[in-house]
Symmetry: C2
Subunit: 173 residues, 2 copies
DNA sequence: CACCGGTTTGGACGATCGTCCAGTACGATC
DNA sequence: GATCGTACTGGACGATCGTCCAAACCGGTG
């Protein structure tokens, strides 16, 4: 793992842990186990590290989706698979932080919009193949609902998969 | 409007505008049109202003909900009313910022948990009165889904009320 | 061995942070 | 008019911020 990669990994951890606005150059370097000056050797600015790390984490999460969705034959199975993956991901809060940061940074906004569009498209394709009505609109709302569940789960662990799937499953009928 | 209230109003604006971590003492005082020292005269710390402002905004939004929900007779009408109120509120991003900050501040966490529980309860009561199955679980998921829609709307204005209501309405049947 | 380009270090710089406090402004009370 | 308590101002303090840079390090080449 190169120093550059260690910095990106540290950034992803710290955004989720401390919040986007609380990740500083030195905190980043300390977590990566390097001197503080190396951040600006590999990146143009501290913000640039955060943006690249966040966009990378989003794309990585998206990459696993098709394989996850393929074996599901019923809406309940599909929902269950996606939710499990999202809950297991350590980056629950990272995603939310990234969405908020994207509203204030144009580079990040474009990256997030791209990933989000592909996420919706992947979901919509599965929905269309399984005869769910209005697949595009359903996918858009489902993506939002899933992120909302992630957000609320950070405050209320009782919002379990077993509770969410039956209710959200009604959307897919 | 007292200086104390002006500070709280400024805090609510700035959290939504700049993000929780980027609201500083002097930014707060400037927006409220007062000297920078007055913040620590009325409040114990800058964080305390943010917490009180955020909790107050959440409670204020919750206070209008019952009156909003009362005239609705169908799930579609109820959803439409709640979504309209949320979208019209200037504080879309304030709520999300507050949720994230609550994961890192115990005082705020308790305040948010309280408001969220009452929000769910209000929704659940309406659902039970209109014969929607599993009203408690449905209300919990609906609350999360609505916040998710608010979050995605900040990035994609195409996620309109007209698109969301029919899809999310399926949850209420 | 000397030398080199890429990598890393740790500290300097000015700006801004949260907090604190001596001093000012001002209506109420005597 | 003198005194007082509350509300407020603006600047001082040390800490930390992002950024930059001179110097050190280090494997590969002459």
């Amino acid at each position: 793992m190169t120093v550059r990669e260690r910095l990106l990994a540290a950034a992803a951890e710290l955004i989720a842990e401390k919040g986007w606005g609380a990740v500083s150059t030195r905190l980043l370097a300390d977590r990566a186990g390097v001197g503080s000056g190396v951040v600006h050797y590999h990146f143009a600015s501290t913000q640039a590290v955060l943006v690249e790390a966040a966009a990378g984490a989003l794309r990585a999460a998206l990459a696993g989706l098709p394989d996850l969705l393929a074996p599901a034959t019923t809406p309940g199975e599909a929902l269950d698979a996606v939710l499990t993956a999202l809950i297991d991901a350590d980056g629950q809060e990272l995603f939310i932080e990234t969405y908020l940061a994207a509203t204030r940074n144009d580079d990040l906004r474009h990256a997030v919009a791209e990933v989000l569009a592909e996420f919706r498209h992947t979901i919509a394709r599965w929905l269309a193949e399984h005869d769910v009505p209005t697949p595009e609109a359903t996918a858009a709302v489902l993506a939002a609902a899933l992120d909302g569940v992630m957000l609320h789960r950070a405050l209320d662990p009782d919002l379990t998969r077993a509770l969410v799937v039956p209710v959200l499953g009604r959307v897919l009928r």
